[in-house]
């Protein structure tokens, strides 16, 4: 119980002398927090620099052959070379489109089916057993078949990305929709709320935090699906470039592509996390 339980307006009654002591305490506390955050950042940065240094020394001093692991500087120059090459942007564009559509379809089909299975008994009865059965095997085994079915172009990569990113979104949506306080459902029923209002005011917002976790998984797996698809069989795309450069022993080029892809994925991931903090703001309160 807080003070406000018995006397909601009592918080204004702090004596002035005590007030000064409290604000000094709060200041000291926030200084300590700032110092701690700074220390943590210094630790993380130093570790990163240390790894970079080891990498640099090991490769430049010849402990590891440059053909196997290029040095940081080689990788840096290779990044510039790759990015300014004529083939770079067309291939990036192919992959980005595949990722975009794969992610979008995986996300929306997972969310829509998750909601449908949770809301409609006949839908659940009809398809849920199959979705559970299909969830276990690794979806990657479908990659070669999808190339056969949908061809060497973008369609097959999108299909693989959809199949891979669908399940986490579906399962998270379903879990979110069904893990709801039974009393909250009772409350909605007692207010004569029908199916739609219960969904709009209770089930959907209640599911959003778990669904957002699904979106993040969905994103990672959509990228994975597209790249794997391009490895298996493609004539364009980042995965195809990586595969081709690896074949030509242009390892520095491969490294630069991996780094660029990682940065891009991470950037979008952080954007999704930012969206998440906006959408499910009450989790941060």
């Amino acid at each position: 119980m807080t003070i406000a339980d018995t006397a909601p307006a009592a918080s204004a009654a702090v004596p002035r002398a005590l007030d000064g002591a409290i604000s000094r305490f709060v200041d000291a506390e926030s200084r300590r927090m700032r110092r701690k955050r700074l220390t943590n950042r210094v630790l993380a940065t130093s570790f990163g620099l240390f790894v970079l240094l080891v990498w640099h020394v090991a490769t430049e001093a010849g402990f590891v052959h440059k053909l196997i692991i290029p040095s940081p500087i080689d990788t840096f120059w290779a990044t510039g070379r790759v990015m300014s090459a004529a083939y770079f942007w067309p291939n990036v564009s192919v992959t980005l489109q595949e990722i975009f559509w794969g992610f979008l379809f995986g996300l929306s089909s997972g969310a829509i089916l998750g909601i449908s299975v949770a809301m409609f008994e006949p839908v659940r009865a009809t398809i849920y057993p199959y979705l559970v059965a299909l969830q276990a095997p690794p979806k990657i085994v479908l990659a070669p078949i999808f190339i056969t079915w949908f061809g060497f172009d973008q369609a097959s990569k999108i299909a693989i990305a959809v199949v891979m990113s669908f399940f986490p979104m579906f399962l998270n949506t379903l879990t979110g929709m069904t893990s709801v306080d039974p009393n909250a459902v009772k409350l909605m029923r007692s207010l004569t709320a029908g199916r739609w209002k219960t969904f709009r005011y209770l089930l959907l917002p209640n599911a959003l935090p778990i669904m957002m976790a699904g979106v993040k998984l969905c994103w990672t797996l959509a990228v994975l699906g597209v790249i794997v698809g391009e490895f298996v069989g493609a004539s364009a795309g980042i995965g195809y470039l990586i595969y081709a450069m690896n074949f030509q022993l242009d390892i520095a080029g491969v490294f630069s592509l991996i780094i660029l892809l990682s940065l891009f994925t991470l950037f979008v991931y952080q954007f999704i996390e930012w969206l998440e903090s906006r959408i499910v703001f009450w989790k941060q309160l």
């Binding site: 807080t2 339980d5 909601p8 307006a9 009393n183 007692s190 207010l191 004569t192 959003l208």
Partner: protein, 254 residues
């Protein structure tokens, strides 16, 4: 005898379980008058929540009849409000938005609801807390919001399932006094579930004493303590007598 607001005749409820059928309520008969404060007391599992759900039209009866205001009653109604042991506030809505929820769902006039919401929040002592989120409130304050939400659409019957059961003793007592004050002003029909005998006696006009296995209505105790009641009623020898009478019916003192 004039007809009561709520009349139950031989209300029974059997749950189908994995093993044997479970008789949660067996032949419960009662009448509840308009404006009456009735408590249901009894140990866990005697069917209090089940009976309350049936009264709310949320749970089907297996047998018996239930009449509300002269009509058969077996579906949720806007003029019956429910409150639970947990506040069941929606964490994504502010205190104000939570109190406005019943009005939104029932499609009530918004302006009127806003005004009523402000009034109710002030009545439960939460002036200035409208824009807070539930996670920023203590357990007692959350139940106050729950109380305001319960009254938001001005239901005629209040069904309260151990609403203060999860609060500490001090907060519970404060909430009881507050509930009594609100009830004295509004004179709604209240059915209040508790397993705290003292609380039931303090609040009620009549106490329904229930016993488990199977859930039955053991008896009804008229609480003839004067109203309006203040906490000093607990010093009344009659208060102690009534508490002991109910204890006896529940077999607590063997």
């Amino acid at each position: 005898m004039t007809a009561s607001l709520i009349e139950g005749r031989n209300v029974s409820k059997v749950y189908a379980t994995a093993t044997a059928p479970l008789v949660a309520l067996s032949d419960v008969s009662f009448g509840i008058e308009e404006g009456e404060f009735v408590s249901l007391v009894g140990p866990s599992g005697c069917g209090k929540s089940t009976l309350l759900s049936i009264l709310g039209g949320l749970e089907e009866r297996t047998d018996g009849t239930l009449v509300l205001d002269g009509k058969h009653h077996d579906a949720p109604r806007a003029d019956i409000g429910m409150m639970f042991q947990t506040s069941v506030l929606f964490p994504w809505r502010t205190v104000r938005e939570n109190v406005l929820l019943p009005g939104i769902i029932l499609g009530l006039e918004r302006k009127q609801q806003e005004a009523r919401c402000a009034e109710l929040l002030s009545m439960v002592g939460l002036d200035g807390f409208g824009e807070r989120y539930p996670s920023e409130l203590s357990g007692g304050m959350r139940q106050r919001v729950g109380l305001a939400r319960l009254l938001a659409h001005d239901p005629r019957v209040l069904l309260m399932d151990e609403p203060f059961g999860a609060l500490d003793e001090f907060t519970r007592e404060t909430m009881n006094i507050e509930l009594l004050r609100i009830w004295e002003r509004t004179r709604k029909t209240v059915i209040f579930v508790t397993h705290n005998i003292g609380e039931a006696v303090f609040l009620s006009d009549r106490v329904f004493v229930m016993t488990p296995r199977p859930g039955r209505l053991e008896g009804i105790v008229e609480i003839d303590l004067p109203r309006p009641r203040r906490t000093d009623v607990m010093r009344d020898p009659r208060y102690a007598e009534l508490v002991f009478e109910i204890r006896g019916m529940l077999g607590v003192d063997h």
